[in-house]
Amino acid sequence: MRPLSPHLQIYRPQLTSVLSFGHRLTGVVLGIYAVVLVAWLLAATTGPRAYSRMHDFMQSSVGKMVLVVGSFCYFLHLCGGIRHLFWDSGRGFELRTIYISGWAVVAASTALTAAAWIVGAHVAR
């Protein structure tokens, strides 16, 4: 096999590369959640019994973990995506700016995930 670049065995990850790969990874993971969204709509179409089966799973601790992971993936992909759209305008490529926007993405997506679950816990029936 040809040597791969970057040389993963001796590669020190940086915020830039982790967020770049993380954006792809969360995009693929959110694809699985898109399937769950369609399953949820189908369950609601099928009737109360199909819906409550899905509802009960989502209320379980495993279901809640699935939703916590999904919400973090969503907010990371949302904030990272806005960062990408900003880059598409041709701005923000100075090394300092890239690190500032990178940490802003990490902070914002963490804060938004926490806020979503705090609000959710307050309005939950």
Binding site: A34, V35, V38, L41, T45, G81
Partner: protein, 123 residues
């Protein structure tokens, strides 16, 4: 033996190469408000029973936004997965994988839209 120039002739840019890249951005911009609406709705619906969810989705604005959501979401997903496959799959599995992504995304979008319309008009 063909020279590199002869090989390249006729295989150049069709001047349409930027279309998928651009449409990925268009759907991304659309998905910012659409997914924020869905996230806010799901938070408001936390723990809701069947009747509440169906009652929410039956409202014309909710049905419309859900149909737009599914359209933009699965278009964006297909374009994103296409890039991932083209970057990492170089074997003979590339074309079958791309077909699976396109057929899967299209089928899921249509399924979700039909489910939404069924709830809106018949549910």
């Amino acid at each position: 033996m063909r020279s590199p120039l002869a090989r390249a002739r006729g295989w150049g840019s069709a001047r349409e190469g930027v279309a998928p890249w651009w449409f990925e951005r268009v759907t991304a911009v659309a998905l910012v408000p659409l997914t924020l609406w869905l996230a806010a709705s799901l938070i408001a619906l936390a723990g809701a029973d069947y009747a509440t969810v169906v009652g929410w989705l039956k409202r014309p604005l909710a049905s419309l936004l859900m149909v737009l959501q599914l359209t933009a979401l699965f278009s964006h997903l297909a374009l994103g997965l296409r890039v991932v496959i083209e970057d990492y799959v170089h074997s003979g599995a590339k074309i079958p994988a791309l077909l699976a992504v396109y057929f899967g995304c299209f089928s899921l979008a249509v399924t979700g839209i039909l489910a939404t319309l069924h709830i809106a008009f018949a549910g």
